[in-house]
């Protein structure tokens, strides 16, 4: 586990906002030299704290107006059915994330669709036909914000 100091935390916060900033520009904001900043970024990457970059796209402008979270309960359980379900569900392009959870549901899926009619198609043809699928609960996403997290 990596221990962060105040400057590491500032670098992380800055890169979580905009990962395209280079070490020179970022260093100037923090009063650090370009090589010192670069070394810190490299250390954060090498230790696995920064795992990569992610594009932040406006889904609606790209024609994907609906995001639905599905809570899925499996009807039959056992090691084989979990694997079958996971393999099939990850192959669906509209399913963006699959999380294995404990609690009311077994899995939590994030599904993107062009509109409600498109979502209904995905739900009927792709989701409800998954091997071992049981109860499904749907919640339509209205708003979403990512927080900086405990970076003091």
């Amino acid at each position: 586990m990596m221990e962060l100091d105040e400057i590491d935390r500032k670098i992380l916060r800055a890169l979580a906002e905009d990962a395209t900033q280079n070490a020179g520009a970022l260093g100037r904001c923090l009063g650090l030299s370009q090589p010192a900043t670069w070394r810190r970024i490299k250390r954060l990457q090498d230790s696995g704290v920064i795992t990569g970059r992610k594009l932040d796209l406006d889904y609606e402008k790209l024609g994907f107006g609906v995001t639905v979270f599905l809570g899925v309960k499996l009807a039959t359980k056992g090691r084989v059915s979990l694997e079958d379900f996971e393999r099939a569900v990850t192959a669906i392009p509209e399913v963006q994330t699959v999380e294995h959870v404990l609690g009311l549901f077994d899995y939590r899926l994030r599904v993107t669709a062009r509109d409600i009619a498109d979502f209904e198609r995905v739900l009927r043809r792709r989701i409800m036909t998954l091997p071992g699928i049981g109860d499904v609960e749907a919640n339509v996403l209205l708003s979403e914000e990512r927080r900086p997290g405990p970076l003091g």
């Binding site: 586990m1 990596m2 962060l4 992380l12 890169l15 979580a16 905009d18 990962a19 395209t20 230790s47 696995g48 704290v49 920064i50 795992t51 990569g52 970059r53 992610k54 594009l55 932040d56 796209l57 406006d58 402008k61 790209l62 994907f64 979270f69 809570g71 996971e86 990850t90 392009p93 509209e94 399913v95 963006q96 994330t97 699959v98 999380e99 294995h100 959870v101 404990l102 609690g103 009311l104 549901f105 899995y107 939590r108 994030r110 993107t112 609960e137 749907a138 919640n139 339509v140 996403l141 209205l142 708003s143 979403e144 914000e145 990512r146 927080r147 997290g149 405990p150 970076l151 003091g152």
Partner: protein
């Protein structure tokens, strides 16, 4: 409006978000300066909001991740606003989503271990305003997390 080239650029960037601009330009078969002009346009139109570094909280010692599905007391007209404002003040809340459905709000909460989680839950979460009901989902594993659009 997006054209085919915009879509191709975004597809490539989604598949390899860590690639450099010259590499990307190479793969698409355009010059870096033309690509960067296209990207500026995508940013101006708001389609491309930015690129963010992905933080692995486990590597920082946050071993526990919990989804709290919360139903609010909607008889209070300001329930949503007041709840969200208070939830933003909790540093361990890394994601806030609002829904249309059986659940009103979902919070993603991270903690160092179960004792730490219990402390956050009791002292910060349960004291949030206008909660009618809370359900908890504990994260076991992320099976798929590409969050890429079928553009």
């Amino acid at each position: 409006m997006l054209d085919d080239l915009d879509r191709r650029i975004l597809r490539h960037m989604q598949n390899d978000p860590n690639g450099s601009l010259p590499d990307l330009a190479d793969r698409i078969g355009m010059t870096a300066s033309r690509l960067s002009r296209r990207l500026d346009k995508l940013r101006e139109s708001g389609v491309l909001r930015g690129q963010r570094a992905v933080i692995d909280w486990r590597a920082l010692g946050f071993e526990v991740e919990v989804s709290l599905r919360i139903t609010l007391d909607k008889t209070q007209t300001r329930a949503f606003d007041e709840f969200l404002a208070a939830a933003r003040d909790i540093p361990e809340v890394i994601e806030i989503q609002t829904f249309l459905g059986r659940v009103d709000v979902r919070l993603s909460v991270i903690a160092r271990d179960m004792a730490h989680y219990q402390d956050i839950y009791r002292s910060r979460i349960l004291t949030l305003p206008h909660i009618a009901d809370i359900e908890t989902l504990m994260h076991v594993a992320r099976i798929k997390s590409e969050e890429s659009l079928p553009i």
